[in-house]
């Protein structure tokens, strides 16, 4: 019997598979397809203090082995999420991670304060890495001192563990990871999307209305694996790995690289059943490579054997 359980700050995951924020809405659409209680957890779509419509369309462009998105943190605001989304999620036996976003540090604090007394939310995921908003987002996530400061403020406001989702659009992700660890982060989520762009040959102009977008999908998996591998050796806090996962083999690769759990993003769009499929396959894959548990596989790539 392979042990899929993962214990992380605030999160008792029955398995390491978590749909990534922005790729799963608030679960309602996928709940029509399968039982959300199968999932280790769910990272729900970003919450900001007020409603945001997001960017103009087109917001989506396909790329080789992936896609660009420039949604722009569309959401109805934290109050609406508390009223209309969280009660639905409370019906399921899965760990809810609230992704928190904003334009200023105060925005992050405001969202966290409002979510603190929502028992369904087990942990926060600080989104300081969205490449598609002009203020906040990635602006806070690309400089170690700014990332550390917003992490510190979030930690002071939060009554639950804070994970910080980092941007790959930096020269040295290890430096940022260490800074947010020092500022008190309970864990890291690596990585958000890579900033990219496409041009429409018919018009000669950018395809996305926002000009640039975030690249996700299998195209970014090697970048994510490299960053998890580097950061895992430099910090003591756990890492949730994300970027281009489509299979249980990919999950094992992230575990070996140093992740404790994973998030599955864009593949939910391609195969809406991908998460339950991975959860079903994972014990077989772990067994095939000689692991008795998820924990055993984590960090093997840099462990002395």
């Amino acid at each position: 019997m392979i042990d899929l359980r993962v214990e992380l700050p605030g999160l008792h995951l029955k398995n390491p598979v978590i749909p990534a924020s922005g790729c799963f809405g608030f679960g309602k659409e996928y709940a029509e397809l399968y039982d959300l209680s199968l999932l280790g957890g769910i990272a729900i779509k970003s919450a900001t203090p007020k409603e945001r419509f997001g960017n103009p369309t087109p917001r989506i462009a396909e790329t080789p082995s992936g896609m660009l998105n420039a949604i722009g943190l569309q959401n109805k605001g934290v109050d609406s999420i508390i009223e209309n989304e969280l009660p639905f999620l409370a019906k399921y036996d899965t760990e809810i991670i609230a992704n928190v976003a904003g334009a200023t540090e105060e925005d992050y604090v405001e969202v966290i304060r409002k979510l603190n007394d929502q028992p369904v939310v087990k942990a926060y995921e600080l989104n300081i890495s969205c490449p598609n908003v002009k203020h906040g987002g990635i602006g806070l996530g690309t400089k170690p001192e700014l990332a550390a400061h917003v992490t510190k403020m979030a930690k002071e406001a939060a009554s639950k563990p804070v994970y910080v989702k980092l941007s790959p659009n930096v020269t040295d992700i290890v430096e940022i990871a260490k800074a947010v660890e020092q500022a008190g982060a309970d864990g890291l989520v690596l990585i958000n999307t890579l900033m990219g762009m496409r041009i429409d040959l018919k018009t000669g102009k950018p395809l996305l209305a926002n000009v640039t977008g975030g690249l996700s999908g299998p195209a970014i998996k090697p970048v994510a694996i490299r960053m998890v591998y580097q950061v895992a050796q430099a910090v003591q806090i756990p890492i949730i790995g994300v970027g281009g996962i489509t299979s249980a083999n990919d999950v094992l690769e992230f575990l070996n690289a140093g992740a404790s759990a994973v998030e599955v993003g864009a593949q939910n769009f391609v195969d809406p059943y991908v998460c339950p499929k991975i959860i079903e396959d994972l014990p077989k894959v772990l067994e095939r490579y000689g692991y008795a548990s998820v924990k055993e596989a984590s960090g093997r790539s840099f462990r002395d054997e």
């Binding site: 419509f53 369309t57 949604i71």
Partner: protein, 241 residues
């Protein structure tokens, strides 16, 4: 909605760059006119949303235009195809006569819609707009169903020279209830002339099920609507184009 590997019964070109594919699939039993299916086209990453043209007992017909590498690849598929759906809300089937207006590759979903209105004993006027003669398709199929069909071409090579609205005016079609699918300028023009009816929109999508917020439009009170889940069919005066 469900995912299925469907058998391709046929896949043929019916007009310049316009292809018709028939699929044997259990999704046929669940489908409504105006809905769409999400099609996997290896090696491309995202599924392609394609509207349902006709619902048969255990098969679905789709019609698609070669617009890029993905739809070109679809013309080479002959065995099986991974589909997901049916997605979206579809056209309402109301108890009244209807004017169906289609432009270019927006024509296909109107066909099953016409069948259902005719089946209920209603008069179905059809106005189809194309750029030129070479791109006309499905005129005969609508006629064979028993619809009154008018054609508009931008170059005047067939029917009324000009837009679908030019044809509607020229033929003095007075049906007040319109269902339409086609290019944005056509839908905007219809919005100015009609108060009753529904428009089906096209959009770049990622998930196709309402989760990603990639394909939103606004309603008249500035709220976001998802083309894939709240649409693709919207009340004609409630969506901002």
């Amino acid at each position: 909605m469900k995912q299925e590997v469907a058998k391709i019964l046929s896949n043929i070109e019916i007009a310049k760059d316009i292809w018709k594919m028939e699929l044997q699939t259990g999704l046929a039993k669940m489908a409504k006119p105006g809905q769409f299916i999400e099609i996997e086209v290896p090696p491309f990453f995202l599924r392609r949303p394609i509207s349902i043209n006709e619902i048969k007992g255990d098969s679905l017909v789709i019609i698609y235009k070669i617009l890029g590498e993905g739809t070109l690849q679809m013309t080479k598929m002959h065995d099986t195809i991974d589909i997901f759906g049916p997605c979206g809300n579809g056209f309402p089937i109301e108890d009244r006569d209807v004017l169906l207006v289609g432009g270019g590759v927006g024509v296909p979903p109107l066909y099953e819609t016409a069948k259902q209105y005719l089946k209920n004993g209603h008069q179905v006027d059809v106005v189809l707009g194309f750029n030129d003669q070479s791109q006309i398709f499905f005129e005969q199929e609508f006629k064979e169903l028993g619809c009154k069909v008018q054609i508009a071409t931008m170059d005047g090579s067939v029917g009324t020279k000009g837009t679908v609205l030019d044809a509607i005016h020229e033929q003095k079609i007075s049906t007040s209830f319109v269902l339409a699918c086609g290019p944005l300028p056509m839908l905007k023009a219809l919005q100015k002339e009609y108060t009753e009816g529904y428009l089906s929109l096209e959009a770049r999508m990622a998930c196709g099920i309402g989760a990603c917020m990639g394909c939103v439009v606004k309603d008249t009170s500035d709220h976001a609507l998802r083309v894939c889940k709240d649409g693709p069919v919207f009340p004609i005066q409630e969506v901002v184009l």
